[in-house]
């Protein structure tokens, strides 16, 4: 299986007037392959979003490297962006456009072949059951509808890598389930998926491998079973608590 993502010593330092230098990501190192769901698990402010933003070329790393689909974020950011579909709480929708228009716009921005475009859009509209509201302005849609549009937007150009930053936050169980099912289907289609969450059950259901992250550092990486063995805990919550607690305890 070919390696899709490789991060080595990825570090991001923010300069903040009040707090001085803040390290958002500290020597993050991991790899992912095709057909794998890789989970970043951590509490709020742990550095998950920073790591994903670095991968999406929205932020520039202070040091370290990360390559996606073989392209380095620093030297070939456009190639990287062409290879990924990125979705986070910060990726909003144009309120005055309809879902179809948004999909069309992003398909064009991402240079998706013109001839296949409309077909792809209809495929996504059907897949996410957006038929009823595909021509209504986005500002009038509910949170769940918007999230469906956002996901469709992220994958409209059919990228080999998907980066989802807490995609289920704020969704009801049904929509969340649709989404998780979609992610599983993507894995089965051979895509490489990086997925951050602080919801343990999602991680348990989806992730092939998990990195537990806190204070910008990866505390442990492995399959859930490996992590269980390492901590001697049965439930994922306990595993997580053991890892994070151990670290915090060591610091204190």
């Amino acid at each position: 299986m070919s390696k899709m993502i490789a991060a080595h010593g990825l570090t991001k330092v923010y300069h903040d007037g009040k707090r001085g230098d803040v390290t958002g990501a500290d020597s993050i190192t991991f790899e992912c392959v095709e057909g794998e769901i890789f989970g970043l698990l951590g509490p709020n402010g742990a550095g998950k979003t920073t790591t994903l933003r670095l991968m999406a070329t929205i932020l520039n790393p202070s040091s370290g490297t990360v390559t996606l689909n073989g392209y380095d974020v620093r030297s070939q950011p456009e190639r990287v962006r062409a290879s990924i579909g990125y979705l986070s709480g910060e990726t909003g929708l144009y309120g005055r456009l309809t879902p179809r228009e948004i999909l069309r716009y992003f398909a064009r921005l991402n240079r998706y072949p013109d001839g296949k475009r409309e077909g792809r859009i209809e495929e996504l509209v059907t897949l996410f059951e957006m038929g009823e509201f595909a021509d209504v302005r986005c500002e009038k849609l509910s949170t769940g509808m918007k999230q469906k549009v956002s996901i469709a937007r992220a994958v409209v150009h059919d990228p080999p890598i998907l980066i989802f930053d807490e995609p289920t936050s704020g969704l009801d169980i049904l929509v969340a389930d649709t989404l998780l099912t979609f992610i599983e289907e993507c894995r089965d289609a051979g895509k490489c998926i990086v997925f951050s969450t602080h919801i343990m059950s999602e991680a348990e259901r989806l992730c092939d491998r998990i990195s537990v992250i806190d204070h910008g550092r990866i505390l442990a990486t492995g399959t859930l079973d490996e992590l269980r063995r390492r901590t001697g805990e049965r439930y994922i919550e306990k595993v997580f608590r053991a890892l994070v607690g151990r670290e915090r305890h060591a610091e204190g």
Partner: protein
């Protein structure tokens, strides 16, 4: 673009407003005209006389607001704006009792100054007529026909179109600039800060489109919107002309544009549109939210409308200096175009200079997007000064503002009561003592806070040598500025009151106007404020900002530029030498020379562009700079603050 088009507010701003504006403009122009009359009263106009009539010549030469410059071909000179009116007098008077004296007055109805010249000449001719009449009555006993001793022919050289253009030129350029700004501002705020606020920017940036094309695309949209609103404005004028809405009722000629002029206006405004769009794009990409963008844009809008308004003042012609002043250049160019005046070279300068400014701003904006600050919305993206929270900069700024208010409310009234005592209290009681208290309160080490370090002797000499050059440049700036903002006579008289030595000794004047400011003002500005600013920004920026604050402190728009220049030079001296004393020497010498000049009337000679004076000052200045750099190296005890 589609997203923006669906925003009703943007639509109103760019389409409806320009259409409504024109009718409003028609009613508003009268009011503006009244406002401007005030300024006109003080203008000096140039007139040409041909033929010779002692009576008229004396009257005209006695009028302080008329300047006589005789030309061979008055009509041509009038068209070229070399003169504002011409009077054709007969060589000799016809015999008493004979025919009336024929006098012809040439003027240009489309030019306010020319109309002014006409009015003034007319007044003098009236006086002359009366004296002629009296003369004739005395010369002949028999009551001849004495009512028509003078036959005045008025010749207006301006065509109807030119006259209409002249009237339109008073308000049209300002409206144009305003619309441009208004349209561009809506689009810019929506596309840059709005996308940030609605969180669509990050979505956009994860797409394949690279950041430069995102900036460029957004900028182009802003530009198209801005231009659309001006084009619609001009079109609405053309259409309402066709429909006869701007018709010539009540004896007024139409306020219509000809298609040709409209085209010229469009071409000249185009680069300004690019510039405005670039600046607004830049400003709003600095902001994180709508509201922040609006607070950033508002002062800029005022700053841009002002030069546009200045450009519509009568008497400002397009020349090499005006042509490079952004906004004002377009405003003047449009006004000139409206009266059918298209000087090709200045127009080219206007277009090229605006394009150059726009390119610079746009490259800055693109760099901003390259950085990640746009996403993070961190304060580092926002132009410095007030945002950074480095040691005590904010406190120092508050202190400065308090000083400014105190000066405005207390200082000036004290000085109005008794100039010398007031000056003494202001300088020592309101500048020096509070500055020291500020440092004490914040427990700043005095030596470091005020740069009270021993200066290398050479730098002191250098400061002395640089003073004349500084004064000359400041004086030049003053005159440049007075082209746009004419200096009222009162300022000169109040300056004379300050400097004049009629009722007190020169020594006292030197003490209060040269020595004391050199100490007190320097302690506050180059000591305290510069020291604080230096901790927040690069040295050259600190010197610049400190100088501007100093210029502002003189509470007079006429003196901002010259005093700011003095302040910047003094600031540079402090930063280069590490000591405040060279700045004190410069300031003292500078003010001293002004007093000296006023006292011995040297200033008048300085005004005459004397090349040898300029050369001496320049030589001294260069010598000063060399010494300064040398002294700095030799002194080598320069701890940067």
């Amino acid at each position: 673009m589609t997203d923006l088009l669906r925003d009703r507010r943007s639509v109103i701003a760019t389409i409806v407003l320009p259409m409504l504006l024109f009718p409003i403009l028609l009613f508003g122009s009268k009011r503006l005209e009244e406002l401007r009359a005030g300024r006109l009263d003080e203008e000096t106009v140039v007139v040409s006389l041909s033929g010779s009539q002692r009576g008229v010549e004396t009257l005209i030469e006695a009028d302080p607001f008329l300047e006589r410059r005789d030309v061979a071909d008055p009509e041509k000179a009038l068209r070229r704006d070399e003169i504002q009116a011409a009077l054709l007098l007969p060589g000799a008077l016809p015999s008493p009792g004979g025919a009336a004296v024929v006098v012809t007055l040439y003027y240009d109805e489309s030019d306010e100054l020319s109309r002014l010249a006409r009015e003034r000449l007319n007044g003098h001719l009236e006086t002359w007529r009366e004296s002629l009449q009296a003369e004739r009555l005395a010369a002949i006993e028999a009551p001849a026909d004495v009512r028509d001793v003078l036959d005045l022919e008025m010749t207006n050289i301006a065509s109807e179109a030119r006259m209409a253009g002249g009237r339109l030129g008073k308000v049209f350029p300002m409206m144009l600039v305003f619309l441009l700004l208004n349209g561009a501002a809506y689009a810019a705020v929506d596309l840059f800060s709005g996308e940030k606020e609605r969180k669509t920017l990050e979505t956009l940036l994860t797409s394949l489109a690279d950041r430069r094309s995102v900036v460029l695309g957004k900028f182009l949209t802003v530009f198209v919107v801005a231009e659309t609103s001006t084009v619609l404005f001009v079109l609405s004028n053309l259409v309402s002309t066709k429909l006869g809405l701007t018709g010539a009722e009540a004896g007024r000629t139409t306020l219509a544009l000809s298609p040709g002029v409209a085209l010229i206006v469009f071409v000249v405004t185009l680069p300004l549109g690019i510039l405005m769009s670039a600046i607004l794009s830049y400003l709003s990409s600095c902001a994180r939210t709508y509201r922040e963008a609006q607070t950033l844009i508002l002062p800029f809008t005022f700053g841009a409308i002002l030069p546009a308004a200045l450009g519509t003042l009568p008497g400002i012609r397009i020349d090499s200096v005006v042509a490079v002043v952004p906004v004002a250049n377009v405003s003047v160019a449009v006004r000139e175009a409206l009266i059918g005046h298209f000087p090709p070279l200045p127009l080219a300068v206007v277009i090229v200079s605006n394009l150059a400014y726009a390119a610079w701003v746009l490259s800055r904006a693109a760099r901003l997007f390259d950085g990640e600050a746009v996403i993070l919305g961190s304060s580092s993206a926002i132009p410095t000064l007030f945002r950074r929270e480095r040691p005590l900069v904010r406190e120092a700024m508050i202190f400065y503002s308090a000083e400014l208010l105190a000066l405005y409310y207390i200082g000036s009234s004290l000085q109005a009561k008794n100039l010398m005592v007031g000056l003494f209290i202001t300088l020592y009681g309101m500048l020096l003592v509070p500055s020291l208290l500020f440092a004490r309160y914040h427990r700043l080490p005095l030596r470091a806070a005020f740069s009270l370090r021993r200066a290398p002797a050479l730098t002191l000499v250098a400061a002395l040598l640089m003073a004349p050059g500084t004064l000359l440049v400041a004086n030049g700036l003053f005159r440049l500025q007075s082209r746009f903002v004419p200096v009222p006579e009162e300022l000169f008289s109040s300056m004379e009151g300050l400097l004049g030595s009629s009722d007190r000794s020169v020594l006292l004047t030197f003490f209060l106007v040269a020595l004391s400011p050199a100490i007190c003002e320097e302690i506050l500005f180059r000591g305290l404020l510069l020291g604080r600013l230096r901790r927040a920004m690069a040295p050259w920026r600190a010197a610049l900002a400190g100088g501007l604050l100093f210029g502002l402190f003189h509470l007079s728009i006429y003196r901002i530029l010259p005093t700011a220049f003095m302040g910047i030079t003094a600031g540079a001296l402090v930063l280069l030498s590490g000591s405040i004393f060279p700045a004190m020497v410069l300031h003292g010498t500078y003010n001293g020379m002004v007093i000296f000049g006023e006292h011995f009337d040297v200033l008048r000679r300085l005004d005459g562009h004397d090349p040898s004076l300029i050369a001496i000052a320049a030589l001294l200045g260069i010598g000063g700079i060399v010494l300064l750099l040398h002294g700095r190296r030799a002194g080598n005890s320069v701890p940067t603050p």
